[in-house]
């Protein structure tokens, strides 16, 4: 196991190099004018000569290998460049936005997976009964519902109409507390930092702002988990060893929870891994609708404005994340299914 983990971790720099080369090469297909747009505040006020001057200043006409070398050299010195979209260094921007995304992830993934598994098992066990149909409708709605539709509906009902759950991460008045010198930032996650500062007012306000984006994300993802779990569980319940377990007189509770569920979870684990990667990469639509400034929103803006430094930086940092998450999933796999040997 240990050697497996080490080998996987050693892959990280190789992956980074390969990925950076791929993205860099693709970006070279854009003209210098296109790549310049990330640096321009007011394009209507720039003449051709001025644009050429800016292109020269930024080095966009330098040979591709020179540009790549310059970027790589900076990386090795811990400098991922400047994000025009974020108006700060890429590394700083990533650690500025990442906690928001992690916070959203943590509050989403747990209810999502727990609810998804529980409902999926329930649905499979009560196969073709009323509860099964109800859960299937629930998951069908979630699965069919585009995130932006769900988000907008929730926003309009729970914020626009009822005024219960506003957008953003904090209220303006609470933001003043958090920005003050009396509030210490530990993680960048408002709920966690509020607890660390023993400030219940900030905690509740942060939680209130999390409700809608969490529901939006969780519902859609939970629907996916429900379907996976149900399908996997139904398959497991048809296995011979389950019939044997029942024949031996074991209670249904033991059959489901001790024998069937665990074996059904392996495929769910894979799905969960993908989901974690997706969530941690930032849910762009949810973050946009709820004005939740995380990695997803930043990524979309960077792509729209061809913020090359940000695009590369996000891709690289996210790729490290993906490798780590996949490794965790593999380890969990080995735990869940002793037949799997990590080699």
């Amino acid at each position: 196991m240990k050697s497996y983990i080490v080998r996987r971790l050693l892959l990280i720099p190789v992956m980074i190099l390969g990925l950076s080369l791929l993205i860099f090469t693709m970006l070279q297909f854009l003209s210098p004018y296109q790549r310049l747009t990330a640096f321009i505040d007011n394009p209507s006020k720039l003449s051709i000569d001025q644009m050429e001057e800016m292109i020269r200043q930024v080095g966009l006409r330098d040979p591709a290998y020179k540009q790549y070398y310059r970027w790589l050299n900076n990386i090795l010195h811990g400098n991922l460049g400047w994000s025009e979209v974020a108006r700060r260094p890429v590394m700083k921007a990533y650690f500025r936005y990442f906690p928001a995304t992690v916070e959203l992830f943590l509050w989403s993934i747990v209810p999502c997976i727990l609810a998804g598994i529980w409902l999926g098992v329930k649905s499979a066990v009560q196969h073709n009964k009323f509860i099964d149909h109800l859960i299937r409708v629930f998951s069908l709605i979630g699965w069919s519902l585009p995130t932006y539709v769900a988000g907008l509906i929730f926003l309009m009902i729970f914020y626009g109409w009822l005024g219960w759950f506003p957008s953003g991460r904090l209220s303006d008045s609470i933001n003043q507390i958090v920005s003050s010198s009396e509030f210490v930032r530990y993680t960048g996650m408002n709920t966690i930092d509020a607890l660390c500062n023993w400030n219940i007012q900030v905690f509740l306000d942060a939680l209130r702002h999390l409700v809608l984006p969490v529901i939006t994300l969780s519902y859609v993802q939970a629907a996916f988990i429900v379907r996976q779990t149900r399908s996997s569980m139904l398959e497991t319940l048809r296995k011979e060893y389950i019939t044997t377990a029942r024949a031996k007189g074991l209670t249904e509770h033991v059959v489901i929870n001790k024998h069937a569920r665990k074996n059904a979870l392996t495929s769910v684990l894979t799905a969960g891994g993908f989901m974690a990667i997706w969530l941690l990469g930032g849910s762009a639509i949810t973050e946009t609708i709820f004005d939740y400034q995380g990695i997803g929103l930043w990524t979309v803006r960077a792509a729209q404005q061809i913020d090359v430094a940000a695009i590369l930086g996000i891709a690289l940092l996210d790729s490290v994340l993906i490798i780590v998450i996949n490794l965790v999933v593999d380890i969990l796999y080995a735990y869940v299914d002793p037949r799997v040997r990590l080699q």
């Binding site: 854009l30 003209s31 004018y33 296109q34 790549r35 310049l36 747009t37 321009i40 505040d41 007011n42 394009p43 209507s44 006020k45 720039l46 003449s47 051709i48 000569d49 001025q50 644009m51 001057e53 800016m54 200043q57 930024v58 400047w82 979209v85 974020a86 108006r87 700060r88 409708v137 069908l140 709605i141 069919s144 519902l145 539709v149 907008l152 509906i153 926003l155 309009m156 009902i157 914020y159 626009g160 109409w161 005024g163 506003p166 957008s167 953003g168 303006d172 008045s173 920005s179 946009t288 609708i289 709820f290 004005d291 400034q293 929103l297 930043w298 803006r301 729209q304 404005q305 061809i306």
Partner: protein
């Protein structure tokens, strides 16, 4: 089941929108704070660097200029950091128009407590000229003071000396004196506008790492490549009614009232400007009172009109002109927008729009009524030239083109000695994705022109903004739709970009023949002479069908509990310019 579920969801969405279109009578939220929500982040806090509206909208609240606009007038001024408005009558403008003197107010302090002195004013303008960053606003004062639009030529060699910069702005006792290299009638407008005239604290700027004001180091601070490397990128210290509390780039900026302001302190305690990209979210914030002013794209204005608690102003004329411009000198290399590149019915030649009959034909084919109604939501006015109402020397009597398919056909038949009508043509009209108005403009031309002759073919294609910029810069666009905001209200500023061979647009479109008049207009001191010149240019713009132009109108949308807002076309903002000093919140 799947379809039924989808239908049900759509029904819920529609009903929800209907139910929720209500602002509801409410108590004033955040009574001490004005929250503006927009979709445009600011790029820098350095008044010497910035040349875009969003940053200026914030800088405008923290810094001040020598003079200020009188009420809603963009051309009449009142004293601000200067104690008098220079004029020939009071002797502060010389008879030859080459010397301007400003007496500087005493007792004014910057946010950090430093006292404003004439040396700060001198330093402000010298720093602007020294920085002279590519694409920046320095040319606004360099042109009159040094008779150059940049300190360097195309090869990067300096064309002015430090001595020239130094002598252009000098301190004489309590006065700051500007020595112009050429007469420049709108000089007051140029030197007091927010692009180029925000007064900074010399001592503090130097402490931040800015230029020390000496000849020894000036070239080190010339044309910095990156805004984040400038001394005042994320720091602010002006004399204005508000001061910087915090800036979270891309998210929000917070200003607080300057209680040591040299006039009465502002009525409101805090200003918060937030960035929210999603329109529905902004709308919800406005309706709930969590935002006082929001940016509303024109197509969504009907969603907030008539809603209780929301005030929507009448359409207001902005000094913002958009041109639908014809490229008279196309670059054919690798150009996929021009078909075969020949006048053979499968493309267009590089000089297609150089033929005046073609330009007139396209001009007569444009249905303004449909465009203004459907593309601009009624918020636009067709113009005969790039000079709009509100700019001095706008000619109200100047004839313009109307949609006339018969005349269009007549012109097409004359074009290229009749060959165009016989052979036909094909081209691709580009618009930038997301811009519905520009898309509609292209489609109107497509529809109306194709209806005249089945051999005429226009394809409309949406591309991303970076792609369109690339096509424009490489002169491949047959038609270009783009706008220009007046830096200050003067006819020269509007005519130059659209009709000069070195203008920002016209240079990429092969437009020429007006330089002599444009230059003469810029330098003429006599207002009657200037009027004659600009009237002539407007007439030529019409006769030569140089381009199509229209003026954008704007609408101010806010909560009805805001009081004291007024419109001035020179106030910078993406939400119709607020000078927050005069604004209060409440129903009394």
């Amino acid at each position: 089941m799947y379809k039924g579920v989808r239908f049900a969801l759509m029904l819920v969405l529609v009903l929800t929108i209907g139910v929720l279109s209500s602002g509801q009578g409410q108590e004033v939220k955040n009574p001490d704070t004005i929250i503006t929500v927009t979709a445009f982040p600011i790029s820098t806090l350095d008044p010497t660097w910035t040349y875009e509206t969003s940053s200026c909208a914030v800088i405008f609240q923290m810094y001040e200029t020598l003079l200020f606009y009188k009420g809603s007038s963009p051309t009449n001024f009142v004293p601000m950091l200067a104690t008098e408005v220079p004029s020939r009558e009071n002797g502060l403008i010389s008879e030859d128009g080459l010397t301007y003197k400003f007496p500087i107010r005493k007792g004014v302090r910057f946010h950090n407590g430093n006292e404003l002195t004439p040396e700060d004013v001198e330093y402000t303008f010298e720093r602007m000229m020294v920085m002279d960053r590519t694409g920046g606003p320095a040319y606004l004062i360099e042109e009159p003071l040094l008779d150059v639009s940049s300190l360097t030529d195309a090869e990067g060699n300096f064309v002015v000396t430090f001595e020239q910069i130094d002598k252009a702005v000098e301190v004489e006792g309590d006065y700051v004196v500007f020595h112009l290299a050429i007469p420049h009638p709108p000089f007051l407008s140029a030197v007091i506008n927010y692009w180029s005239g925000s007064i900074i604290d010399k001592e503090w700027t130097i402490k931040q790492g800015g230029w020390d004001g000496t000849e020894a180091t000036w070239k080190d601070f010339h044309n910095p490549a990156k805004k984040e490397d400038t001394a005042l990128f994320d720091a602010a210290n002006g004399t204005g009614p508000f001061m910087l509390e915090k800036w979270d780039p891309g998210k929000e900026i917070v200003l607080v009232r300057n209680d040591n302001y040299w006039r009465e302190p502002a009525k409101i305690e805090r200003l918060v400007r937030k960035i929210v990209y999603e329109w529905t979210t902004r709308k919800m914030m406005l309706l709930k009172g969590d935002a006082d002013i929001v940016y509303v794209p024109a197509m969504f204005i009907p969603q907030v009109e008539g809603v209780e608690g929301i005030e929507v102003s009448e359409p207001l004329p902005l000094l913002f002109v958009t041109g639908i411009m014809w490229n008279q000198k196309l670059n054919m290399k690798g150009n996929t927008l021009v078909g075969s590149g020949e006048l053979d019915g499968e493309g267009i030649p590089p000089d297609f729009f150089a033929d005046i009959n073609v330009r007139k034909a396209f001009t007569y084919s444009f249905d303004w009524d449909v465009f203004i109604r459907d593309g601009l939501n009624g918020l636009g006015t067709p113009l005969a030239s790039p000079i709009p109402p509100g700019i001095p020397y706008y000619n109200l009597e100047q004839e313009g083109y109307q949609y006339d398919p018969e005349k269009a056909e007549e012109q097409f038949k004359k074009a290229f000695d009749g060959k165009l009508w016989e052979k036909g043509f094909k081209l691709v009209a580009i618009y930038n994705v997301g811009n519905a108005a520009r898309k509609l403009a292209a489609e109107i031309l497509e529809q109306n022109i194709e209806a005249l002759n089945p051999k005429f073919r226009i394809d409309v294609l949406g591309v991303t903004w970076p792609t369109m910029l690339d096509m424009r810069m490489t002169k491949r666009l047959p038609l270009l739709v783009s706008g220009w905001v007046a830096d200050y209200p003067d006819a020269h500023i509007m005519v130059y970009p659209y009709m000069s061979t070195t203008g920002y647009y016209s240079a990429t479109l092969g437009i020429s023949g007006y330089d002599e008049l444009i230059d003469e207009g810029r330098r003429a001191l006599d207002s009657e002479k200037r009027k004659e010149i600009y009237y002539k240019l407007q007439e030529l713009a019409y006769e030569d069908a140089v381009s199509l132009w229209y003026q954008i109108m704007g609408v101010h949308i806010s909560r009805d509990w805001l009081k004291g807002w007024y419109f001035n076309s020179m106030f910078p903002s993406d939400v119709l310019g607020a000078y927050y000093y005069e604004i209060s919140k409440g129903y009394e």
